[in-house]
C-alpha cells in the first residue's frame, strides 16, 4: 500500500461532508447511504467527486458491494496503487 488507507479515509470523509446534511458523525464504519440518508443519485455524485479527487474510475457494479467509508477507501487504495 503506497497511499495510506487512513489518508484516503480522511479525504473521503472531507468530500462526504457536503452530502452529510444531518451532520451525522463519520467513522470508517459509517454506512454511506443508510446512515447518512443519501439517495442513490447523490451517492453517484459523491462517488464521482471521489473519482475526480483521486483520478480513478469506479463502476456502478462495484458500488453494489461498497457500503462503508472503510470499504470505499479500500477500493480507492487498490485503484490508486494499481495506476
Amino acid at each position: 500500500m503506497t497511499t495510506a488507507h487512513k489518508d484516503i479515509e480522511a479525504t473521503i470523509m472531507r468530500l462526504l461532508q457536503a452530502y452529510n446534511k444531518e451532520e451525522a458523525p463519520l467513522s470508517p464504519e459509517t454506512n454511506i447511504a443508510a446512515d447518512l440518508n443519501i439517495d442513490s443519485a447523490d451517492v453517484l455524485n459523491f462517488v464521482m467527486e471521489v473519482e475526480d479527487e483521486f483520478d480513478i474510475d469506479i463502476s456502478v457494479n462495484e458500488l453494489a458491494d461498497i457500503h462503508t467509508i472503510s470499504q470505499l477507501a479500500a477500493l480507492v487504495a487498490e485503484r490508486v496503487n494499481a495506476d
Partner: protein, 400 residues
C-alpha cells in the same frame, strides 16, 4: 422476517403528506378526453400541458379508423409473443415503414418503449461488455444496464470531456463498449451533445446507441431525431424510439444498419418473451407515422409553440431548466418542493395540467413543473398556460 413493503414506509409517509396537501399526482385521473390537448380532470375542463403528445396525433380520424379496422380484421390482441404466434402482417408493415422512415437497414418493434430499451441494452451487452451512460438517463436505460450484467460506468450529464476520460480509463479488453445517450432528456428538455460524442469515436473504440424517445418526430429536417439534426446519423449504430410520444400509440422500436441486427429477435429476452403489440396499436402507429411524414408542418407548429411557451415563461420571470435551444419540454424550476406542490395544485385549479417532478428523481434535485407542448396546442392555449403559471405563482406567493 420483515414484510416486503416495510422498506417503503418513509416513502409512503411522504406520499401521504403530499396527498393530504392536495397533490395526488400519482393517481390523477383523466375522466374524459376531449382532444389531444383537453381533458376533464376533477370535473373541470383542463388544458393538457404535460403530455408527450408532441405531434398531436391521438385523435386523427384516419388513425382512429385504422385502429378500428385492425380490431375488426386482426382482433383485440395477439395472445402470443413475436417469436411464437404473435407476428401479424401489421407488425412487419410497421417495421418496414419505420426502417424506411429512419433510413436504416433493419427495424424491430417492441411492446413498450421501456422494453425496447431493456431488449436493446441487455440484448447487445453482457457481463464482458462495458456500458457508458449519462447520469440523467431514463429509468429504462438504468434497468437495461442492470439486466445486461455488463460493467456500467456513469458520466456527468452531457459532459463530453468526462465521458472521454471514462472511455480512456475503461479499455475494451475482451468485450465490447456501448455509449448510450438520449436525443432529448425528458425532464429538462435538453439535448445530448451528439456531434461531440460521435467525434469521440475517432479516438475511442465504442458503439453508440441513441434513445430518440422524445426527439423522434420532433428534431431533424424530416423528424428522424437528434442524430439527423446533428448530421451524424452514420456515427450512430443503434437508435431506440417509442410509439407513445410523437406517434400517439404504445410500443417501441429500434433501428440499425448492423448486418446481424436481427439476431436480437432470438437473443433479447424482453422482446422474445412478451406478448406482441396489439393490432390496433400497430395500425394507429403506422397511420401516425405516415401522417407526420406527410405533414412536416406539424413540426414547425410544435417548435413555434415551444418557443412561445419558453419565451413567455421567461418573460414572466420563471426560471427554466433549459433554454439553450427551442425544445418542446419546458421545465419551470420551483424554489422549493412545497412551492412546486402548491403551484401544481393551483395550476390544476386554474385548468392547466403539467407534470409534477420532485426530488430525488429529478436532475440536480430540482423541484420541477414540467410543461410540454403539442403541435395541437393553439397559440391561445399556450397563452392560457403562461397566464395560469403567473396566477399560480401569485396564489402561492407566501411560498416562493
Amino acid at each position: 422476517m420483515a414484510d416486503l413493503l416495510q422498506k417503503y414506509e418513509k416513502l409512503r409517509r411522504r406520499h401521504d403528506d403530499l396527498v393530504r396537501f392536495g397533490a395526488d399526482a400519482v393517481m390523477l385521473v383523466n375522466e374524459r378526453l376531449l382532444s389531444p390537448t383537453r381533458a376533464i380532470i376533477n370535473g373541470r375542463e383542463t388544458i393538457l400541458a404535460g403530455t408527450n403528445n408532441y405531434m398531436g396525433v391521438t385523435f386523427e380520424p384516419d388513425c382512429i379508423a385504422a385502429g378500428k379496422r385492425a380490431l375488426e380484421q386482426y382482433g383485440t390482441g395477439t395472445t402470443g409473443s413475436r417469436i411464437a404466434n404473435g407476428t401479424y402482417a401489421l407488425h412487419v408493415q410497421l417495421e418496414e415503414a419505420l426502417a424506411r422512415f429512419m433510413n436504416r437497414r433493419s427495424c424491430m418493434v417492441f411492446s413498450t418503449g421501456f422494453q425496447a430499451n431493456l431488449s436493446m441494452i441487455a440484448g447487445l451487452c453482457g457481463p464482458e461488455d462495458t456500458i457508458f451512460i449519462d447520469m440523467d438517463s431514463h429509468a429504462s436505460i438504468h434497468d437495461g444496464c442492470r439486466l445486461s450484467g455488463a460493467k456500467v460506468v456513469v458520466f456527468r450529464h452531457n459532459d463530453v470531456e468526462h465521458l472521454a476520460k471514462r472511455l480512456e480509463r475503461h479499455p475494451a479488453e475482451r468485450g465490447g463498449r456501448l455509449v448510450i445517450v438520449e436525443g432529448i432528456y425528458s425532464m429538462l428538455g435538453d439535448f445530448a451533445p451528439l456531434k461531440e460524442i460521435v467525434a469521440l469515436k475517432r479516438e475511442h473504440d465504442f458503439q453508440l446507441l441513441v434513445d430518440e424517445a422524445h426527439s423522434f418526430g420532433v428534431l431533424g429536417e424530416t423528424g428522424r431525431g437528434l442524430a439527423e439534426m446533428a448530421g451524424v446519423e452514420e456515427g450512430v449504430d443503434f437508435i431506440v424510439g417509442t410509439f407513445s410520444k410523437s406517434l400517439g400509440g404504445i410500443g417501441g422500436y429500434a433501428v440499425s444498419n448492423h448486418p446481424h441486427f436481427d439476431v436480437l429477435r432470438y437473443a433479447a429476452r424482453p422482446y422474445m418473451f412478451t406478448a406482441a403489440p396489439s393490432p390496433a396499436s400497430m395500425a394507429t402507429t403506422l397511420c401516425a407515422l405516415k401522417k407526420i411524414e406527410a405533414e412536416p408542418e406539424r413540426r414547425d407548429i410544435l417548435m413555434r409553440n415551444a418557443e412561445h411557451l419558453q419565451k413567455g415563461l421567461k418573460e414572466k420571470g420563471f426560471e427554466l431548466g433549459f433554454d439553450g435551444a427551442i425544445t418542446p419540454v419546458v421545465a419551470v424550476i420551483c424554489p422549493t418542493e412545497p412551492a412546486a406542490v402548491a403551484m401544481w395544485n393551483a395550476l390544476l385549479e386554474n385548468g392547466v395540467y403539467v407534470n409534477l417532478a420532485l426530488p430525488p428523481g429529478t436532475p440536480k434535485k430540482l423541484a420541477l413543473l414540467r410543461a410540454s407542448v403539442s403541435s395541437a396546442h393553439t397559440p391561445e392555449e399556450i397563452d392560457a398556460v403562461i397566464a395560469a403559471f403567473e396566477k399560480a405563482r401569485a396564489a402561492v406567493a407566501d411560498l416562493v
